[in-house]
């Protein structure tokens, strides 16, 4: 930015970061979903928040680093501590890779437990599902 100041700043909306966080968390084995608490449900009814940001709160500190709070639903039988650590690592890695900004902390809150359904993968709400309606085959 310093060598070409006339180009201006690049600002990334926190909603975009929240979407990155959500998708990164959903790729971790043992995470059945993101968000879905009562507050989220009521909030969505009144605020028209999009589904891909629910369960994620992103704030920015004075240094410009992101602080993330993430509410997840885990699959029964997975080790909570390990899964949460993997979520923290995945979120940190993905956000830094895509935004080139630091992350001060990733707070993980386990909001629910889901039983694994027979015949399905451990991740019931995988990111691939989001694109199922628009993927076309040649």
């Amino acid at each position: 930015m310093d060598d070409q100041p006339e180009l201006g700043d690049i600002k990334i909306n926190h909603d975009v970061v929240a979407s990155i966080v959500r998708l990164a968390a959903l790729q971790v084995p043992g995470v059945a979903g993101v968000g879905g608490g009562l507050t989220d449900g009521i909030g969505e009814l009144f605020s028209k928040r999009e589904a891909d940001k629910r369960g994620v709160k992103v704030t920015e500190d004075a240094r410009g680093d992101y602080a993330v709070e993430l509410r997840i639903v885990i699959t029964y039988g997975t080790e909570i501590g390990r899964t949460a650590y993997e979520v923290q690592v995945a979120v940190r890695k993905q956000v830094i890779a895509m935004t080139d900004k630091g992350i001060s902390r990733v707070d993980v809150i386990v909001e629910g437990v889901r039983m694994p359904t027979p015949g399905s993968s451990t991740n019931g709400d995988r990111p691939d599902d989001l694109w199922a309606g628009i993927v076309t085959t040649d």
Partner: protein, 137 residues
């Protein structure tokens, strides 16, 4: 004057008081911080579990037993220890001593190994009903 304003002005104090109480209750419920249990806190961030998720985790553990039809869990932190209450509905073929032994061990393991909680209190199991099995034709 709008009908709503007219209604409020003419309504008796009891009705206004009732609506005000309901409104305050709704605001309280909406703003109330959910009770969460802090499991880990380090430089990477914190790991917390909501009381609802903890209850669901314990109930899911109970439902792994074929003899258990339904389960309700409640956890109370008293004197620094986590006291667990389980209310179960069992099937007629359930062996109570086996259910009690298995659940005591499994739930203690969930606390210690999965959640990292060492100060586990007593686990009280109460059988509140027997659910007959569905007869298959």
């Amino acid at each position: 004057m709008s009908p709503i304003l007219e209604y409020i002005l003419n309504a008796p104090a009891l009705v206004i008081g009732l609506w005000a109480t309901l409104g305050l209750l709704a605001i309280f419920l909406f703003l109330r911080k959910p009770r969460r249990l802090l499991l880990v806190s380090n430089e990477n961030g914190r790991l917390q579990i909501s009381r609802h998720a903890l209850h669901r985790l314990l109930e899911a553990c109970c439902l792994q037993l074929s003899g258990v039809s339904s389960a309700r869990a409640r956890v109370v932190k008293r004197g620094g220890k986590f006291k667990t209450y389980l209310r179960l509905k069992v099937r007629p073929d359930a062996k109570m001593d086996a259910v009690q032994g298995y659940l005591s061990q499994e739930i203690a393991d969930i606390y210690r190994l999965n959640l990292g909680i060492t100060n586990v209190g007593p686990i009280e199991i109460e059988i509140v009903g027997v659910v007959p099995e569905n007869k298959e034709f």
